[in-house]
């Protein structure tokens, strides 16, 4: 198996213990610190990144499972932080403490990639795994809906 991972478009060679969770590999080994640690059990969604475009919980995903694949973190979601979701997040003033928001955005991006026009219920279902203790849920819902609309227009 290839010992390479493509992270945010850049190929990276890795020789770490393959059991190391992707979260800590990304944070401690290759300095992508936008992805956060919240629970270590895949229960809160703060660590959400994409592997080949699909949302995964990086805290319970061993580095092994990412070998040879494309990993995208919040830093690589868009060129200049201008993904429609990121713009909608600023417009709707979603973040409070902000800690969970990278995971929220990455999860939402994967959701919209699968379902470009989700209903309110589908947004709720799709985002149910991401906890926000600041309670920004209603703004997240609005931001996802408005980003979906903009992406459809584009």
């Amino acid at each position: 198996m290839s010992k390479k991972i493509i992270i945010n478009g850049k190929e990276v060679s890795t020789d770490v213990d393959g059991n190391m969770p992707l979260l800590w590999y990304l944070r401690d080994e290759v300095d992508y610190t936008g992805t956060k640690f919240g629970c270590g059990m895949g229960l809160c969604g703060a660590c959400t990144v994409h592997i080949d475009g699909k949302a995964v919980r990086s805290c319970i995903t061993p580095v092994n499972q990412a070998l040879g694949k494309k990993v995208t973190t919040i830093e690589g979601l868009s060129e200049n932080g201008d993904h429609p979701l990121q713009k909608a997040w600023v417009e709707h003033k979603v973040p409070q403490c902000g800690y969970c928001q990278a995971g929220q955005i990455m999860n939402a991006a994967s959701l919209l990639a699968e379902n470009p026009n989700p209903s309110a219920d589908q947004i709720e279902q799709g985002m149910q795994g991401n906890i926000c203790r600041c309670g920004t849920y209603n703004r997240i819902k609005k931001a996802i809906a408005s980003a979906a609309e903009k992406m459809q227009e584009a």
């Binding site: 944070r27 270590g40 059990m41 830093e75 990121q86 403490c97 955005i105 703004r139």
Partner: protein
Amino acid sequence: MNFSRFVPQKQNLSRREFLKVSSLAAGAGFAIGSVPLVAGEATPAVQQGLGHFIKVTSDSLVTVVIKHLDKGQGVTTGLTAIVAEEMDADWSQMRWEFAPADATKYNNLFFGPVQGTGGSTAIANSWMQLRQAGAAAKHMMVKAAAKRWQVAPAEVTVAEGKIKHKSGKTLSFGDVASDVAKMTAPEKPNLKDPKDFKLIGSNIPRIDSPEKTKGKANYTLDVNQPGMLKAVIIHPPLFGATIKSLDKSEALKMKGVKAVVQTPRGVGIVADSYWTATQARQVVKIDWDESAAEKRGSKELWKSYKTMAREEGQVVRNDGDVTKAFKEAAKTINLEFEFPYLAHSAMEPMNCAVQIKEGQCDIWTGSQIPTVDQGVAASVVGLTPDKVNIHTQFAGGSFGRRAVPNADFVLDAVLIAKLSGLDAPINLQWSREDDMQAGYYRPMTYQEMKASFDDKGELSGWHQRVVSQSILRGTPFAGMIQGPLDMTLVEGGHNLPYAMDNIKVDGHEASVGVPVLWWRSVGHTHNAYSTEVFLDEVARTMGKDPVQFRLERLKEHPRHAGVLKLAAEKAGWGKKLPKNKAQGVAVHESFSSFVAEVAEVTVNDDGTYSVDKIVCAVDCGIAITPDVIKAQMEGGIGYGLGSCMSEAVTLTDGKVDQANFYNYFPMRMSKMPEIEVHIVQSGESPTGVGEPGTPPAGPAVANALRKFLKKPLTKLPFGDRLDLA
């Protein structure tokens, strides 16, 4: 957190603000500080010429130094807006930075000589301080420009970041910055008339949103100094247990492990990565001495609390004659309430980075009371506090958790750094389980509420008894307890606003070895619930409408009545609803802000239910950043409601039963109601919004659900399914 309960509620008026200008390095601009000066005496801070709140650099950027922690409440936006308003700056030129830990410059005016964020005081504290600093800056810029142009200052104006003369000449803030640096600040600068406010009260962008949506905001978790090591800690399995013996040999053999140290608080493991430290943690063997530990479980504690409640506690309010009222009553009602321990469970588990090197101690963390952390670190390391440098980071939530009288997580990190003897920077990260199980909870609380009615059916007596743990006693903040009882037990209950002839409130402090702390709105979390739910029960007994009943008894409290009327009106109180829906209401003052909430719920035949909507009205004085206020109400409601619906920390034989989000259940998106927030137009000084949205949420919902139940919800949390039988 709630210091404000114990210190004067108004800033000391004998203080005047003394403004001092100083040059930034190399004449790059000017900085202006506002140092409280007591009755004309020069404090050491003034003598040193310290105190910087605003920096203007030659590129015309205005940086506001934020002395409070931003843990999501939006203080970076609010305080920056206050300065921008008085300076007539353009929003695009505004920047901010966190202040260092230095109580001589950055103390909270409500807390005395302590730098801190809590009790929803940040805006209230900084309002006049920053307005005066901003106004002084503007005054001097005008003077400097007038001198440059050889015109009268009266002919010079400032708007949208430009200094203008009536002839059409303009200068930027940066153009005059070096001139201003040489000037003396006016002692009493003219403040703007609030009717001329442009930014305050408008819909400005949130200043920290861009970095927080790009993964660029820095939290303690992200602190990465050169050569930084990572650490984890093993805390005792029971509160009060100590280490009998430690075998670290296996852990020390692991590649990348730098140190395993026994500290007074547990065992710290330092390694080259968090992953290595976590693995090493598994092979550390500890034999614990549990002889002095708290071994009671929740069951035993409830029993003990109920026994205590049979006796009268410390009486903190006793109007009229409650004993007589009950003796002569034609009817009485009573309810017993049980509130569990609650975890703050901020999304970022507690953490702190430390480096002890060359006679200095550097600390990177998000803390609500840096002064305490500074003092604790100084005493552990053996330095004076001025050698402890605190670099404030964004906090991934806090809700009171990062305001700890013994600085617990900071202490953990400092002890590990000190005892390991390593001079490399070390970033200590608690796991979620550490965060859930190592303590600091909203106190478990038992309450008895009793009311009496006379022979005409009128309410004649009200008695509240609270049994809970003191948050302050036995901590360095015990001096804040000013009577026989720690008022965090009864706040919101002892000052019940409703007109009643006979009212009594008493409380017992239970002694339990479980560490407790302020949790978003502190004692109001349970007292708003017990009083507002019981008040509905009283109204029901008297056959009165809950809103009308409250208004009749709030005639002396126009701000309570104001929010109540507004929320009721906007929610269409009393409107016809389908059989499976109902409304409920609650109103409560906390931290000098007033909030009323009307909840609308749906209850299904199988006992499942949903909270569909909450209409909230808030009076927090002048609304500086209305959208931040709305966001805080939304979040505060979610936090309060989530706890009432599904959160509880319980103990079995002294051990915490919950560990992670599989058995501790914060609110998730599908449970979040639609929320509508209305802000009362007010000319009063601004007060806090971080906490006051939380207390009324639970009781408003409980009062709505009550319509489907035989008796009120008195045992929290409600759970997923109500007992309709």
